[in-house]
């Protein structure tokens, strides 16, 4: 039982940190809603001007960028989620030869940053004639996402009581059936959390898009935003509106799925 004083202190600390986290975001949103070119100082407020978003959308051709981002992010998330669930199931539940060294190999993808791989990756993909295609963005990111996703799903499968899987085996379920019908319903919070993380990382990836893509129609939203910033460095409201447009999908997805983060992982599966 925490005392009243402890509780107030907790709220005070949490309040301060939320403020620190929220201020820049609120600032950007407010800036995006200000009168264009109206002697804007960052974060000040003089009425709402939603027209900024329309202008930014048209000037910055964000429609095209968002479409590219959606194609790349959607593909990466779908591919990585399916493969990660399968690989995590194998690493977490099955006993097979060389599983440990193989798993470390997967972890390598987590440890090496994109910046370290990007130059050789560029030459490899150029040789395969994949640069300036969506594949140049999808394949490398699917690779690193599967490394994380496998690690993540393996941890989940390890936490499942083995007796649950054994009961299913004895009851006559195949491995495949056990995975999709017995375990995956339990894995929903873990899988959705993974989806949000992968979505966010892929959506925000900048360097890869910058290096691999020169065709404007293939530019992803963060890359497009960066070019847009370069062109309109004087119009702060327009920049802020562009930033809000690019950030919005991630926020929407998070809000949509956040209740799954909070929900317990396995409730009442077995008696502890």
């Amino acid at each position: 039982m925490t005392s009243r004083r402890e509780q107030s202190l907790t709220y005070a600390v949490l309040g301060v940190f939320s403020l620190i986290a929220l201020l820049p975001i609120v600032g950007i949103v407010f800036t995006a809603l200000q009168e264009p070119g109206g002697g804007a100082s960052f974060g000040s407020f003089d009425g709402l001007h939603f027209d900024n978003f329309r202008r930014a959308w048209e000037d910055g051709s964000f429609g095209q960028y968002l479409k590219s981002s959606a194609i790349v992010t959607g593909s990466v998330v779908v591919i990585s989620t399916v493969v990660s669930i399968l690989a995590g199931y194998a690493f977490g539940m099955m006993r097979f030869r060389f599983s440990t060294p193989l798993f470390y190999l997967f972890l390598l993808g987590l440890m090496v940053p994109m910046e370290a791989m990007i130059v050789p990756l560029y030459y490899d993909l150029r040789d395969l004639e994949l640069t300036d295609t969506y594949w140049a963005l999808i394949l490398p990111q699917a690779g690193t996402s599967i490394a994380f996703g496998t690690f993540w799903m393996r941890a989940f499968f390890r936490s499942v009581p083995p007796s649950l899987v054994e009961a299913a085996r004895i009851d006559g379920a195949s491995s495949w059936f056990t995975l999709w019908r017995v375990l995956l319903p339990l894995a929903k919070p873990a899988v959705l959390t993974m989806v949000v993380l992968l979505f966010m990382w892929t959506w925000n990836e900048f360097l890869l898009a910058l290096v691999m893509v020169s065709d404007e129609s293939l530019r992803t939203a963060p890359l497009g935003l960066s070019f847009f910033l370069g062109r309109n460095s004087s119009d702060l409201t327009l920049l802020a509106a562009g930033a809000v447009i690019v950030a919005l999908p991630v926020v929407v997805l998070y809000v949509f799925l956040q209740r799954h983060f909070i929900r317990g992982m396995v409730s009442g599966a077995v008696k502890g």
Binding site: P161, E166, R169, G172, A173, F177, P185, A269, K271
Partner: protein
């Protein structure tokens, strides 16, 4: 229903052998309890029978089929797990029906069997609930029901009562026994609790450190333990032991001598010179000179008093050994008191002092 046979079954993890050549025959329809302390290999033996662990050497048969390499689902067994292992996202009905659905049983047949199992386990009210909404006892009954609906060749139960509280455990013990007697399905039941073993098993297999120590009916194990381990494991409180020199007594019988003990036992003959003597607590009583059949007295110091109301168990330190003595009703004793106790005829069991195996004594009518 089918008989089960373990023939020289071994299990190793790398270089470590944990089951050393298990030979065990379980008859068709029999309730066999595997009992032993943790690490005795009883659960490993059960899991090998289930197909959840591979068999390193030897042969396991269910009926006339060798099942060594058969997948669990092909063995036609059902298992009740210690943690119940209910599928949390499915209702009780779906949990019960899961195995039947996987075996492509017709829908109306599934419905009939699930409802009949639910009826016999008093689960009808809970069929639409999920496992998270059940109490421990209800979840346990669902786990039993899941095995029951399958109508398998063999039931396997891995300490199914250990998560229940004491009262519910006693109640469920009776229920499992009743169900097994109704369906007469061969059952292999693993427990570390000798009370469960004694009350439930048609026969009991006592295991220790990966070896089978003795197989027999509860009475056989209790009356004629094959060795010191079984004697000390079966019975509550357990048999107590002391090492003694045995010699023929003048006028028949045997004199047992150890530090603080000089006991003449009538009707026992032909022991080797050095033995381990086992005494069941209920056969050691506070000394009563008027009871002529009682051997004794042996004097010692009280170490503990366990008053259970109707009876009292008194620990008595005699030389190097601690003997538990039974007393009807309450005993006005405190630790530190000096007491004398005697032993009822036929109460002693003798074991080889070196190997610990039982010595069959020639009982002479007295």
């Amino acid at each position: 229903m089918a008989a089960v046979r373990f023939s020289d079954v071994r299990k190793s993890y790398g270089d470590l052998e944990v089951v050393h050549g298990l030979d065990l025959d379980i008859a068709d329809g029999e309730f066999m309890v595997l009992v032993g302390p943790s690490g005795s290999g009883k659960t490993t033996a059960l899991r090998m029978l289930a197909g959840l662990e591979s068999i390193t050497a030897g042969e396991v048969r269910i009926g006339d089929r060798v099942v060594n390499t058969m997948a669990p689902r092909e063995r036609d067994i059902a298992m009740v797990f210690q943690d119940y292992a209910l599928y949390p996202q499915m209702t009780v009905f779906e949990n019960l029906a899961f195995g039947l659905r996987r075996r492509k049983t017709p829908k109306d047949e599934i419905d009939k069997r699930v409802r009949s199992a639910a009826a016999s386990l008093d689960l009808e009210k809970y069929l639409e609930r999920k496992p998270g909404q059940l109490s421990g006892g209800q979840a346990q009954r669902v786990a039993l029901g899941r095995a029951l609906v399958r109508d398998p060749q063999v039931f396997l139960m891995d300490e199914p009562l250990s998560n229940l509280d004491a009262k519910l455990r006693t109640q469920t013990r009776g229920e499992i026994k009743r169900l097994q007697q109704e369906v007469r399905t061969t059952t292999v039941y693993v427990t570390h609790d000798q009370v469960e073993a004694m009350t439930m098993g048609d026969r009991i297999a006592v295991m220790n450190e990966g070896r089978l120590e003795q197989v027999g009916t509860p009475e056989e194990l209790y009356e004629h333990p094959a060795n010191v381990f079984v004697g000390g494991f079966i019975g509550s409180p357990a048999m107590t032991f002391f090492d003694a020199d045995a010699a023929a007594a003048d006028g028949g019988g045997t004199v047992l001598r150890a530090e603080g003990i000089d006991l003449t036992v009538r009707g026992v003959d032909g022991l080797p010179g050095r033995v381990t003597v086992g005494i069941r607590p209920e056969c050691a009583r506070l000394y009563d000179p008027s009871e002529s059949r009682m051997s004794g007295p042996v004097a010692g110091e009280v170490t503990f008093v366990e008053a259970l109301g109707r009876e009292t168990f008194v620990g008595v330190q005699v030389g190097a050994s601690n003997v538990v003595v039974h007393h009807e009703g309450r005993a006005a004793l405190l630790p530190g008191d000096r007491v004398e106790f005697g032993v009822l005829p036929g109460a002693l069991r003798f074991f080889d002092a070196e190997t610990g195996t039982a010595i069959r004594t020639r009982v002479v009518a007295s």
